[in-house]
Structures are given as C-alpha cells and as structure tokens.
C-alpha cells in the first residue's frame, strides 16, 4: 500500500512538473516527486507487525529494516539542498525577467542568446 502511494505521488509530481507553468509550482511538484520515491524506499523496509528499530537486544522481536530508513535520511537532506538551490535560481530568473512562467522564461532566454550572441 505505502509503496503504491509512493509511486502515485511520483506520477502526480511528474505530471505537475510538465503541466504547471509556474516555476515555483514546478519546484513544489519536484519535491512531491522526490517525496514519492522516498516513501517507496521506506515502505519496502516495513512490515505491518514490525517494531521500531530502536532496541538494545533485537533478536527476538521483529523490527522494521533500519537500512532504508538510514538511506532515506540522506535522501531527504539531499532533496532539500536541491530545492533550496533551485528556488534561489528561480529568484534570480524572476529578478531578470519578471516572470515565473517557464515558457516565457524560455523565450526570453532565447531572445537574449540571439541578441547577445553566444560565447
């Protein structure tokens, strides 16, 4: 169940990145895509009857696999890092072009390149 939800979230995120033209919303959707993949990873380590993987002696109790959880900690931080940077880049683009519409930005960048000549 949790794995399926993760995949669905990933799908929603991808569609939103492709359809919504506002760059800020695109970034939110990217966050959703990443969150979906992370949910998948957490889901595979879990079993309904499991315990939390914090225990001194763990032989006789069944607990959730700690490895995916440890991996996910890294992944969450990495995704935050990417989002923060991407947001800053959007801010710079807005400062330059006064729009967050991706098509619009694409046109304006193209126009700048055509006018200014590429290096």
């Amino acid at each position: 169940m949790a794995f399926s939800v993760g995949i669905v979230l990933l799908g929603i995120g991808l569609v939103a990145i492709a359809i919504r033209r506002d760059l800020v919303i695109k970034l939110l959707a990217l966050g959703l895509t990443n969150a979906g993949s992370i949910l998948c990873l957490v889901a595979i380590g879990d079993r309904p009857d499991a315990h939390v993987p914090i225990c001194a002696v763990c032989h006789d109790v069944l607990y959730a696999d700690p490895l995916p959880q440890a991996l996910v900690l890294s992944a969450i931080v990495i995704n935050f890092a990417i989002l923060a940077l991407a947001l800053v880049f959007v801010m710079r683009l807005v400062e330059q072009y006064h729009t967050t519409d991706s098509r619009h930005v694409e046109d304006l960048v193209q126009r700048d390149l055509d006018e200014g000549g590429q290096q």
Partner: protein
C-alpha cells in the same frame, strides 16, 4: 587506504580553499600533485589487471560501503589527472575566486568517489553531489542563460535520481543488499526472476538522465554550452562520463542489451544532427558530446569485454579531445568577440595561433583521423564486430561528425603574424596525449588489451568517412536548417523521460 584518501582528501582541500585566493591556488596545485602521485601508484599496483578492494570503516560488503579500484577506475584516473592539469593551467589566466577552486576540488573528489563506488546508494549520493557541484559551476558567472540551463539540468537530474531511488528500493527488497557484486551474484543465481526487468528500467533511465542519453538529456546542450569555458571542458570531458560509468557498472550486473542499443542509437544520430546545424561553436561541441555519449552507450550495448575496453578507450579519448576543443573554443570566442561561426570566421586573424592549432588537432581527433586519439578508440569499438544496425549508426555518426566539424575549415587557413596565446601549456597537456594516443594507452593501460593496430581496412573506412563528410559539406554546408528547439524545453524533456522509460520498459519486457 589510499582508496579512501583519494576522494576524502579532496573534500578537505576544498574546505581549505576558503582561506584566500592565493591559498586556493596552492591548494589546487597540491591536490593535483597528490592525485597524480596516488594515481600513478595505483596504476602500477594494478598493472596486471588486479583490483584493490577495501571496505570503508572496516566493514564487509553486506554491512558497509565497499570501494574498489578496478579497470574502469584505472582507465579514468589518468584522464582526470590530465584534464585537471589542463583546466588549472587554463584557469590560472582567468582570475577565478576561491569558490571556484573549492567547487573544483569537490567536483574532483566526487569524481574519484564515483570511480571507486561499488554500492548503489553510494552512487546515488555521489551523483547528487556531482549534480549540485556542476550545477553551481555551470551558473558560476550568474548569467541568466546559465541559470536557466542549470535549473533545467537540476530539475531533470533530480527526476532521474528519484526513478533511480525507486529502482534501488526494488532491488533491495528482493536481494537485501546494495553492493553491486553481491547483487550480481544473486541475479546470476536466478536470471529469470520477474522483478529484474522493472528494477533495471528504473535504474537505467534514472542514470541515463545523468549520462545525457537523449530523450533524457535535454539539459545537456544548454548546460554545456552556457558554462564557463573550463567548466564546459570538465563537464563534457569528465562529469558526463560519470553517468556512463554508473551505466557501465549497472550493465555489468543487469542484462540490458536492446534498451541501450535503442537509446544509444537515437542519441548518437539526433546529437550529430543538431551538431551539424548548430550556429555557435560551443553549442556544436555540446551537441557532438551528446552524439558521442550515444556512441559510448552503443558500445556498452554490445557488451563483450573487448567492447567494454573500447568504450573505456573511447571515453578517455573523447575526454581528451573534447576538453581540448572546449578550452580552445572558449579562447577563440573571446578573441573573435563571439562564438558564432560567422563571427569566428570573420575575425579569424584575431584568434591566437596556438588556439587555432588546438582546435585543428581536436578536430582531426574527433573525426577519427589515424593515428590520433579518436581513431584508436573508434577502431577498438569497430573491432568487436557489432551488428549491422550498430555498424550503420557508427558510420552515420562518423560522417555526420566530419560534416559538422567541416564548418571549422575557414579557421584553419595558415597565416602569419597571428597573436600569441598565453594558454599554450593548457592545450599542450591535452594535445600531446591525443597525438600519441596509441602509445599512450598501450603504456598506461596494459591490462585493457586494446586493439591498437592500424588495420588497413579501418584506416580506409575512417578516411572514407571523413571524405564523405567533407563532400557533404561542399553540397549542403551552405544550407541553413532550423531544427525544432522544443525538444529541449523543460516540459518536453519531462515527457521525453516518460516516453524513454516506456520504450525501455517495452524493450526489456518489464510490462
């Protein structure tokens, strides 16, 4: 022990770079010397094809992270050393800030870490670090075009890595490990297991975005042509290959064949098409990188040990000549006051002679004229008897590359009294191995057993391809063709990733 030091020391040096401008240059020099020494030591230690494996933190493969110095790492480390030297020599004249050198250290540390990595999640983290650092370096000068290119790069790479992570989840679920050789062992035990195709598609498509395979790589031309010169050289010569390295490691474990053939063929042909009609030099080089990534992926698809050796050989050769071309293109564009072909041709007397020579050497190598780097590597790929389809793609790409680079011909008229370049040493570092590529590879990688002879048939084939390219240029070169730009927009790129995923899934029978 050296294996852990190689990447980690680079990160330490990166932090030290902040002490100031002069310190950062010293640190960069120290870092280069140390890496060169360590690489030479490792190459000598693995001359006989041996590998060195250690578990970081003293843990075995099922618990911790294992790093290994194998043929792939051995093949790439001389390239890293040479490219880094050239970039440092070039950047000396550019007056870069400490941040630049710090990021450079991080980038190279991550490159080494990736060359040594044997663990799926470890590769994920390193790829993300690479993405982020190169993302910063692409937009380093903060021009809007660079920022937009970086943003697209980041979004697409992040989508790719999300898919990769889902693949990792599936694999871990079924094998209980992340170590690639252990996974390989489990898969060999049950090659028919139903989950394997699905996991493979997720992994391969995820990595392909990073590696710049078309349908997934719309960020590449924008990012590589917009970046500062040295960074373009590093990205095209080295960083993009890291995706190929991961793809190679994955393809050694998971059966991929047809998927890679399809993706590689499309990339190679489309890349060369766009390169042929690009209007500026840097953009053409970027598209040509795209086509050559397709080439490498086709080599991976053949899958025999000789083909893998050929892939490594070509990756190194491409790193050398593409690095050289990008460096020279940067200086040429600045000297001529613009990077478009008409501007370059109009002001060609302003371009220093060393730069023109470097462009010339790079062009000869990239079109595969014997006995330069491009030829040696290409012959290694041809020698492994590809299928007629792959062979046809090889021929089309070679002819197309010659056609595209024929646009540089007006620059190559010999003339007197041209200006002197102050970056000659940077070019020399790359040009010398290109000119003496065959002896260079034979002495550096004895364990790869490369096919290096100048077989008459191959020589004729390559000369024929170049001649065909030149003839095409005579006939069609003046025609201006506008290829659709939409292919490289962000929304279309997302659709491209999805479609490529579906194609790969169908080819691998994951449905």
């Amino acid at each position: 022990m050296i294996l852990a030091v190689l990447p980690l020391s680079r990160f330490v040096l990166g932090v030290l770079c902040y002490a100031g401008k002069r310190v950062s240059r010293t640190v960069a020099a120290v870092g280069w010397c140390a890496t060169a020494a360590l690489s030479i030591y490792l190459l000598i230690a693995t001359r006989d094809g041996a590998t060195i494996t250690i578990g970081l933190g003293g843990w075995a493969a099922e618990l911790g992270i294992v790093v290994r110095f194998d043929a792939v790492a051995a093949a790439f480390s001389p390239l890293v050393v040479l490219l880094e030297l050239a970039v440092l020599l070039y950047a000396r004249k550019e007056d870069r800030a400490p941040l630049f050198y710090a990021l450079l250290q991080f980038l190279l540390g991550a490159v080494f870490a990736l060359l040594l990595a044997q663990d799926l999640f470890n590769e994920y983290v390193i790829l993300e670090l690479l993405t982020l650092v190169s993302f910063l370096l692409v937009g380093y000068e903060r021009r809007p075009a660079q920022i937009w290119a970086s943003l697209k790069y980041l979004v697409l790479a992040s989508i790719g890595m999300s898919l990769f992570l889902v693949g990792v989840a599936l694999i871990y679920r079924h094998t209980g490990t992340l170590n690639l050789s252990q996974i390989g062992g489990i898969i060999q035990g049950r090659p028919e297991a139903d989950w394997i195709p699905l996991a493979t598609v997720l992994l391969v498509v995820g990595v392909s975005v990073k590696a710049g395979v078309l349908g997934l790589s719309q960020w590449l031309p924008a990012a590589h042509s917009a970046a500062p010169t040295e960074i373009s050289a590093l990205l095209s010569g080295l960083v993009i290959k890291m995706g190929v390295v991961v793809l190679l490691r994955v393809s050694q474990v998971f059966p991929l064949g047809l998927t890679l053939q399809a993706l590689g063929a499309v990339t190679a042909v489309v890349g060369v098409l766009y390169a042929a009609y690009a209007k500026s030099l840097k953009r053409m080089l970027a598209f040509s990188t795209l086509s050559q990534i397709g080439y490498l992926v086709l080599g991976l698809a053949i899958g025999t040990p000789e083909a893998l050796a050929g892939v490594l050989d070509y990756a190194i050769a491409h790193g050398l000549f593409k690095g050289l071309l990008f460096l020279a293109a940067g200086e040429a564009a600045r000297a001529a006051g613009g990077g478009r072909f008409e501007e370059l041709a109009a002001h060609r007397e302003l371009i220093p002679r060393a730069t023109t020579t470097a462009l010339f050497v790079g062009t000869l190598a990239i079109v595969g004229l014997p006995p330069l780097a491009g030829f040696g590597a290409k012959s290694a790929l041809f020698a492994c008897h590809p299928s007629p389809f792959v062979f046809a793609v090889f021929i089309v790409t070679t002819v197309g590359t010659a056609f595209a680079f024929a646009k540089l011909l007006p620059l190559f008229r010999w003339r007197r009294g041209a200006r002197r370049s102050d970056r000659t040493s940077a070019y020399a570092v790359l040009a010398v191995p290109i000119l003496f590529f065959i002896p260079f590879t034979v002495t550096t990688f004895p364990s790869l057993h490369l096919a290096t002879g100048l077989e008459p048939l191959l020589v004729i084939e390559s000369l024929g391809a170049v001649a065909a390219g030149l003839l095409l240029h005579r006939w069609l070169g003046h025609r201006a063709v506008r290829l659709p730009k939409r292919l490289f927009f962000l929304e279309e790129a997302v659709l491209g990733i999805l479609l490529a995923w579906l194609l790969a899934a169908i080819l691998l029978r994951a449905v």
